[in-house]
Structures are given as C-alpha cells and as structure tokens.
C-alpha cells in the first residue's frame, strides 16, 4: 500500500489543502516538508471508510471502474481495427474520481463533461451496447450515430462537449435552472480539464455562478496535460482550484484523483456543502491519463519513467489493495469480475458490429426540434 509515495510533483510548489477531517490534513503538511505532492487519505482512513461503505457497494464501484477500463481498452482496439473513426479520448487512469462522485451523489443531478466522456455516460446508466454502437456510427448508437466518441448523452448527462471549456457556461445554466425552479436537492456537476482553466468561458461562468449563488460543482480533472502542453506551461498559478476560487469568492479544494477513497471522502463533504449552502465550489482533482491526449497521440512529451511512476498508482490497483486488506476481495474474484466486464464489452462490440448503419434517408431529420 503506497498511498503516500507519489512521484515528485515536477516543479510545482507543494500543496497545502485545508480540508480538516476530510482528506488528511497532516499528509499535506508532510508533503510540504518533503517537497512531494500527496493528496491521499491514510490507509487507516481508507479502511475505515471502506468498512462504512461495505463490501457490496465497494465491489459495485470496482465493477464500474472495471467496466470503464474494459470499455476503453476494447474501444481502442476497435479503433485500431478501423471500426471506430474520428477523435477518441481514453479515460483510462482517471476512473476513480467520476466513479466515486457518482457513488456520493447518485445519478439524479445534471451532469456535463468534456469530450473525454465515455466513463460518465457509463456511470449514468448508458449501456455498453448503445455507447459502442455510437462509436461504430450505427443507428442504434447513443446519439443515433450523430455524435460519436465526444458526444455521449443520457437523460441527465447534458453531453460530452468538444470545445475546451465550452460546457462550463452550459453547466452554469443547468444550475441556474435548478435555482429558478427552487430545486434544492439537486446540483449541476461540471467536469472540465486543466486546459479549460485558461479559457474565458471558465472565468465568466465562475463569476456568474458565484455572483448568483448557483448550485454548481465545478470539477477540474487535472491530468497534467492539455494535449501536449503541460499544465505548468498553461496556467499561471500552481493550484488550479485553491488559487483560482478565492478570486470568485468561492471555496476551492484539491483531491487525489487516483484514489477512490480520497475522492469519495472529499466529494461527500464538498457535495454536501454545495447542497447546503447553494453556492458553487471549485475542485481540482489531480489525476493521470495513461494514454495520450487522443488515440493518435503517442505522448512522446512524457518520459517512460514518468508514465511508469503514475501507472504504479493505477486507481484500480489502489482500490483492489484496500479491498483485499478489508478481506472483501481475492485474486480469483477480481479476475472473475474483470472477465465479466470484458465479456460485456466484447458482447457490445458484437452488438455494434451487427447493428444497422443509419439510413441515409434520415440524414436531414431532426435538424430542428418539433
């Protein structure tokens, strides 16, 4: 169990997060001293939290993460076989944070995310079949073959959005709707990447949300890279949420996105805060994508050692470690779960492959809503 030994956080200053009782304040003090970056709760805290959540819930969350991982791996291979076209952005490496958030909040909120949207759609109940069929461009796809990899939707998922930062005002509008209708037990959740923090839409949205007290949870998934530009070369301050949020009169938090338990503990507190105070909050979740920006990106800007170091903190491995420690899981059960999700995705590929192409006669349908 290696919660505290993250890789050095490049040239960025150490981070001190004041979130007492939530994500291990002492670790940050330690990180400050050792010039390393760590956002994790301790193993003891993870075990306590794990016991509280219970075996059934934890295994279900692990299953979700395995579904996401298997979906991305198989979809990538389908891409390599020419079954999938266009842009394709893998979520591999980032599974823990959205899974943990969904465990905290449940699906009955407005969700919105970037073009890296496969995981959130799965977590919100879209089936592997409809998503794979969308990637294959088939009529049975999630968006009838019109959206593709970057544009998945569900009843409460307002979309994967293809313009960096473009979804942030839309999420703010969803939060506005909740306030307008006096709905107090739902919020709008906006995922954005570290690259989007440089966009004007980020600034305008946060200003409006804070000005009007809109219940929006803005979550920056900092995977360290905006395509091939490292976050240090793109953003003028080291802490994306904690340095930016005060400028809008908002609270800002930082979480370790590789660890399910840290994310769960952090999001539980933060989501309650948004719901209770009906105020927006900005969260930075430090994570890593194990792949390039998109499928065509070999990520040559990242050294093999760097990649190896971050893959040692694979969110699935970290979770499995805790589950084993708790006695909820052994290798045989894990392998069985993994195989089950793999089979589900392989079946989805078959479903997609056998699904009909959209009829060209439908091309000009639905440009306008009735």
């Amino acid at each position: 169990m290696q919660f505290q030994t993250c890789r050095p956080y490049r040239q960025r200053p150490p981070v001190v997060v004041d979130l007492p009782g939530c994500i291990g304040y002492n670790e940050y003090k330690m990180a400050e001293k050792t010039k390393t970056h760590s956002h994790a709760i301790s193993l003891d805290e993870a075990l306590t939290l794990g016991k509280k959540l219970g075996k059934k819930v934890l295994l279900e969350n692990l299953r979700q993460m395995l579904l996401i991982r298997n979906f991305e791996i198989r979809a990538e291979s389908a891409y390599q076989h020419g079954k999938v076209g266009g842009f394709f952005h893998s979520y591999i490496g980032q599974e823990a944070l959205q899974t943990a958030l969904l465990q905290v909040l449940g699906p009955d909120h407005w969700y919105i995310t970037t073009y890296r949207c496969h995981a959130l759609a799965l977590l919100l109940g879209a089936t592997p079949n409809e998503l794979m069929a969308e990637l294959y461009g088939r009529a049975t796809g999630n968006a009838k073959g019109r959206g593709g990899s970057m544009h998945f939707f569900t009843e409460r998922l307002l979309g994967g959005f293809g313009i960096v930062g473009g979804q942030i005002p839309i999420a703010t509008g969803a939060a506005f709707s909740l306030k307008y209708r006096n709905i107090k037990d739902e919020l709008a959740v906006c995922f954005l990447g570290d690259g989007a923090v440089a966009q004007g839409a980020f600034h305008e949205s946060l200003n409006l949300a804070a000005l009007w007290s809109l219940p929006c949870l803005y979550i920056i998934e900092n995977n360290m890279w905006g395509m091939g530009t490292s976050v240090e070369r793109a953003i003028s301050v080291p802490r994306l949420a904690e340095d930016k949020a005060p400028g809008y009169g908002m609270k800002g938090y930082t979480l370790d996105g590789m660890d399910f338990f840290t994310c769960y503990a952090g999001f539980e507190k933060i989501a309650q805060e948004v719901l209770k105070h009906q105020r927006p909050v900005l969260v930075e979740v430090i994570t890593e994508r194990f792949r390039g920006h998109s499928i065509s990106d070999p990520a040559l800007y990242r050294s093999k050692d760097e990649l190896k170091a971050c893959m040692e903190r694979d969110p699935i491995i970290l979770m499995v470690t805790v589950l084993k420690e708790l006695g909820y899981l052994d290798d045989a059960v894990f392998e069985q779960m993994d195989k089950q999700e793999k089979d589900l995705v392989v079946a989805a590929m078959k479903y997609a492959d056998e699904s009909p192409w959209p009829d060209p006669i439908t091309l000009e349908e639905d440009v306008f809503a009735p």
Binding site: K144, R146, G159, I170, G173, L208, V367, A369
Partner: protein, 332 residues
C-alpha cells in the same frame, strides 16, 4: 360605438410591440425569463423591457454583468434543462463574443444528441446599423449565422410582425436569432389589441405588383416601400416581399412572385459577399431559371467596414436611389 377586443386596434411603436410579446409570453408560461445587460434596472438599453422588472421581479428579468459568452451559454444550459430563456444582446455585434455557444452548442445540440436535448432559446436585440455607431456596432449578423443548420433567424420590418413573430419564436423549441433594428424601435403602427401569432418561415407580400419583384428583410422593406411609391409614379408596378424570416427561407413565396414578374431585385442591409441575397438569388435561379427575363440584381452594403462619417455611412449602405437604379437596370 362599442368595439370588440377582436377588432380593437392600438397605435404602438416597435419597442412596445416587442414588450407586449415578451409580457404576454411571460404571462402564458412561467418558464420564460429575460436576461441580458441592462434589461432590468436600467429598463433596457433601448427601453424594450421598460417596466418589466417592476412587473415581474428580479427572478424573471435579470441583469447580467458584461459577459456575453457566459450568459449566452448559461441561457443555452437553462434551455436544455427545461426553461425558455429570452437573451437580449445590447447589440448583435456583441454576440460574436458568445459565438462559440451559439454556433457549437445551441444550433447543433438537438441533432448531435440524437434528439435528446432541444434548445428553446431566443437571442434578441438590435442588428445592423444605427446612427453613426461605426464599424464595431453596425455589422449585420444574419449572413454569418445563416450558415448554421439548426438555427432560426427572424428579422421583422414592422411592429405587427415583430410582436407576432417574437411570440412564435418564444414558443418554438429551437434556438432563434431575433434581429431588430435600433432605427426602428420608434416606428409606429396600428396593430390588433387581441393576441395573435405570426408564423415563422412565411414571407409576406407587402405590396402587390406585376413588373418586378423586390425582396428585402429587417429594416430594408420600409426603405423599399418608398421605392415602390416612386416606381409607381414612373409606371412600374413593384411587388414587394418582406422575408420576415431569413432562415428557413420562404423561397416559395419569392419564386411565385418571380414567375409572375420575371424580374427580381434583392435588397440587404448587410454585406454583399456570401450575403442573404447571394443565397436567395441562387435559389431563385434553381426554381425560376426559365422565368427570368434579366439577371437577378442585388443592392447590399458595400464591402467596407461601417465608416463613422455620415456621408460615408450613407454611401456604403443601400439607399432608395441605388435600389431604383437596380430596378431600372433590370427592366431596361
């Protein structure tokens, strides 16, 4: 004599017609709200929303900071989640700051999401030239946004159409750009007191004629009315068509007229290159090639940014004289 409400008329200006449309639709549907710069406490930069804050309160008449990208996008998000926003741009030139939200989200969402999310939103405000407001406040946006499937573009020329079309726009389930003219907010017209709608996508034949078809939209049909009068004196009967809705374009009404007159002149306040006239003329040649006795002519803004000086401003814009010259050339 007692007048029934159905036949009662009122003499009001364009801004009052727009205000009545907003007010009636807010009464009818509590999902409708108004948002924009200076719409509430200032009573509207051009007083279209005068008195609305007092009547409806700050929940439904909402002042924004100077943040077009933010509040345009916020409106789209609100529309996707069940509300029906009316977003005012103080000038449609400021919509360029919000262009990504309109272009990449509003008009693509319904199709892109496989019919899951529609975007019932109206963006309204003054478009095109006013009085010497120079290049950054005078651009006509319809040709730029005309290139986007999924967007409805309306540009009324009078108070009657403005009221009926704005009501239809607010009830429509698609994003609508509703283009007004600062120069026309004070134009008075007698319109019914009783509620009515004007359908989107239907041009109107403002003047009947047999010799030449004149097609315009927005502020231009009023200028063209002067042309019709002048040409009548010269013995030329002009049929004047007000497009009212730029997109979808009612080519059927235009083509029916051109088949009758065999001559056509198109007028547009905006620029020549890839303008609405260019599209209309192309569709006319598709539908009426054998009916035309002369090439279709157009009178548009010349290819310059809008200059400040009065004399230059007049020179770059369509004028009665230029339209008459185009008609005479086409009939020659």
């Amino acid at each position: 004599m007692y007048l029934h409400r159905e036949t009662q008329m009122q003499l009001i200006d364009m801004r009052e017609a727009l205000r009545q449309a907003l007010d009636e639709e807010m009464t009818r549907d509590d999902r409708v709200f108004i948002m924009g710069e200076e719409v509430a406490e200032y009573n509207g930069a051009y007083k279209v929303t005068k008195g609305m804050l007092d009547k409806w309160g700050p929940k439904r008449v909402i002042d924004t900071p100077i943040s077009e990208l933010g509040f345009a996008g916020l409106g789209i998000g609100a529309a996707m989640t069940g509300l029906r926003p009316v977003i005012e741009f103080m000038s449609f030139n400021f919509s360029f700051v919000a262009a990504d939200q309109i272009i990449s989200h509003a008009c693509k969402m319904y199709y892109m999401s496989g019919n899951r999310f529609s975007v019932p939103i109206v963006f309204r405000g003054p478009n095109g030239a006013a009085a010497q407001v120079s290049s950054q406040h005078s651009h006509c946006v319809e040709a730029i946004y005309g290139n986007l499937p999924g967007l409805i573009i309306i540009a009324p020329s009078n108070a009657y159409d403005a009221k009926g079309l704005l009501k239809s726009a607010i009830r429509n389930n698609n994003p609508v750009l509703f283009l007004e003219s600062e120069l026309q907010y004070g134009d008075k017209m007698e319109i019914p007191v009783a509620e009515y709608l004007v359908p989107i996508g239907k041009a109107s034949v403002m003047e009947q004629g047999t010799d030449v078809t004149l097609v315009a939209h927005g502020r231009m049909p009023q200028m063209c009315k002067l042309v019709v009068k002048e040409m009548a004196k010269r013995g030329v009967r002009v049929e004047l068509i007000d497009l009212r809705t730029v997109k979808p374009l009612d080519i059927a009404t235009v083509a029916t007229s051109v088949r009758k007159t065999n001559h056509c002149v198109l007028v547009e306040e905006g620029h020549l290159f890839t303008g609405i006239c260019a599209e209309t003329a192309f569709q006319i040649q598709e539908h009426c090639f054998d009916d035309l006795d002369a090439p279709v002519a157009r009178v548009c803004q010349k290819e310059t940014p809008m200059p400040y000086s009065k004399t230059l401003e007049r020179e770059t814009m369509p004028t009665v004289e230029r339209i008459i010259a185009a008609i005479e050339q086409t009939l020659a």
